[in-house]
């Protein structure tokens, strides 16, 4: 039942050798190679570089993208000059601000959503940025978690576990020395919350799923719960955002004093539906209410009378 290892060895070796058929001569200036740029090629060794299909495809796409962007930029410049002429301005001094004004004037739009309104912007802002190559010219990816599909996210998780392991190790040494963690140094996390999924995604430049985000929060919480988590404070606070402060200091308006020495405050433009009125409150009061030089009977209904007297209190 033993497997014929040597029989299997042959096809797998063929698989490895396939790259040898793709040796391609490339001048060393064409690529910014990490491994090859540092050492100049030795004279007796023929300079051959193994360019993978992946890199060739990437270079092809990059070239196409550059050509496309060049064409778009050209069209944008011509369009801008046309627009300047239409508006009767000097095309050479026509700025992007002028373009925006002109578009707003020529294509007035009542659409609520600003993104849906017509615009004319440089192609670099309109078309998405091309993704940089994630592998070198042999097709070997740069990131050690590349094949997971979300290298940055999983690298972050890897780093959290690194910090957890460090904290465990430190705790062990402290226990061996018989030292207890200092409660004063404990991490104070109130007033902060974890960065939300959208901002985390933005930071990682990767889309992550809800479950992944939950795993991230759970792992982070576990790190924070450790007695020596304060040693990873900088790392943790990279992913904590301060809560908005709800206590906005309320400045009470200062009372003014009339000729008799009585304090009063006037608030202008108090609104109720379309009605506007100025309200003056005096202290010490007499209990008298004056509305447009009339008494509280100015209001014919009971309800506004009650509402007004309650508001005044």
């Amino acid at each position: 039942m033993l497997r014929r290892i040597n029989g299997i060895l042959e096809p797998s070796l063929k698989h490895i050798q396939f790259k040898n058929s793709q040796w391609i001569c490339v001048s060393s200036t064409q690529f910014k190679a990490k491994s090859f740029s540092t050492s100049p090629p030795k004279p007796e060794v023929q300079v051959k570089k193994n360019v993978s299909k992946a890199m060739k495809a990437y270079l092809e796409r990059a070239r196409e993208h550059d050509e496309f962007m060049k064409q778009q930029t050209l069209e944008f410049q011509i369009g801008k000059r046309h627009l300047a002429n239409m508006m009767g301005e000097n095309p050479d001094t026509f700025t992007q601000e002028d373009v925006d004004h002109a578009i707003k004037y020529l294509f007035p739009s009542g659409l609520f959503e600003k993104k849906a309104r017509p615009f004319m912007r440089p192609p670099e802002e309109v078309f998405p940025q091309r993704k940089a190559a994630e592998f070198d010219e042999t097709g070997r990816p740069y990131h050690f978690l590349f094949y997971t599909g979300r290298p940055n996210f999983y690298k972050l998780m890897h780093d959290i576990v690194d910090h957890i392991n460090d904290a465990y190790k430190f705790e062990d040494t402290m226990i061996r020395k018989g030292i207890k963690p200092d409660p004063n140094l404990a991490l104070e996390l109130s007033g902060y919350q974890w960065s939300d999924k959208a901002s985390l995604e933005k930071e990682l430049v990767e889309g992550i799923g809800d479950k992944d985000y939950e795993a991230f929060i759970a792992t982070m919480e576990r790190l924070c719960d450790l007695p020596y988590s304060y040693r990873s404070k900088d790392f943790i606070f990279k992913y904590r955002k301060p809560l908005m402060s709800h206590e906005q200091t309320y400045q009470a308006p200062r009372p003014q004093y009339d000729a008799d020495g009585r304090a009063f405050i006037t608030t202008y433009e108090c609104l109720r539906k379309r009605a506007r009125g100025h309200v003056t409150i005096r202290a010490p009061g007499t209990g008298k209410i004056t509305i447009n030089n009339e008494e509280i009977t100015y209001f014919k209904d009971v309800q506004p009378r009650e509402q007004m007297s309650k508001d005044a209190l």
Binding site: M1, L2, R3, I5, I8, L9, P11, S12, L13, H15, I16, Q17, K19, S35, S39, K42, V45, N50, S52, K53, A54, A57, Y58, R61, K131, F135, T138, G139, R140, P141, F144, L145, F146, Y147, T148, G149, Y154, H158, V161, D162, N165
Partner: protein, 250 residues
């Protein structure tokens, strides 16, 4: 145990080597074969050499025993295809034959070193939270790759869609366990077989070794064992890379 010196002269060298590998628990030494300077011959030479990277002295059977590699699962969960590799059962648990494990592990290490020597991409796999950080760290330290997370289908079989472009796939997958959980085999085992990617797999007594190119029977759960495997594969890969630098004068 017998001494190598008393063996009859008619035995050829490779049988001799194999005998040493199978029988001994002492450190293995490797005599050097003269290398030819020519580049093409060099390639042939490295492949014909029984142990070009001297990976055989990386460990002894005693090391395997100390790392608890011989422990299998309970004998009720034995996969029949693992029968050739087991020594027996003790207190209801499968025990692996470590002499066989050592032989298979050395072949696997040799292959891994050869792939690293040819600048192949090596991808480490392991499911399970307990050991995955260690595996990722190992992969990072030897400049290779790791995938210890949920396997989204089609990473190999539909790579250009998954990565948004033509992507070079790994040349060797090393599975430090081949199961997703106690029942299911890792999908990447099947996918590597589909794509013709060579695989090395640590197969425990409840695993199926059939789709693995280089199965290594042994315990795939204990952290001590995983640590040992990680150390050995890392050293083998680094030796391959070191030799590459020397031979290609990089």
């Amino acid at each position: 145990m017998f001494s190598v010196v008393h063996l009859p002269k008619k035995l050829n060298k490779s049988t001799l080597l194999n005998t040493i590998r199978l029988s001994s628990t002492v450190l293995q030494t490797q005599d050097t074969v003269p290398t030819l300077p020519d580049a093409e011959n060099l390639q042939k030479n490295t492949l014909n050499h029984p142990d070009y990277f001297s990976v055989h002295n990386l460990f002894t059977v005693k090391d395997l025993f100390d790392a608890r590699v011989h422990y299998g699962h309970r004998d009720g969960s034995l996969d029949e295809r693992m029968l050739p590799y087991i020594y027996g059962s003790r207190l209801g648990h499968i025990i692996f034959d470590l002499d066989k494990t050592a032989e298979y592990l050395r072949r696997a290490l040799n292959f891994a070193a050869h792939v690293a020597y040819r600048d192949g991409i090596i991808l480490f796999f392991l499911r399970g939270a307990q050991n995955s950080h260690l595996v990722e760290k190992t992969a990072q330290e030897c400049g290779e790759f790791a995938h210890t997370k949920f396997w989204r289908g089609g990473i190999f079989t539909n790579a250009s869609k998954q990565f948004g472009a033509v992507t070079r796939l790994p040349d060797l997958c090393i599975f430090l366990n081949t199961l997703n959980n106690v029942l299911l085999q890792h999908t990447a085992v099947r996918d590597s077989a589909k794509m013709g990617i060579a695989t090395i797999g640590i197969v425990d007594s409840n695993c199926n070794p059939n789709l693995i190119t280089y199965p290594v029977p042994g315990n795939d759960d204990s952290p001590a064992s995983i640590e040992l495997y990680c150390k050995l594969f890392k050293m083998a890969i680094l030796r391959g890379k070191e030799k590459r630098k020397i031979d290609l004068q990089l």
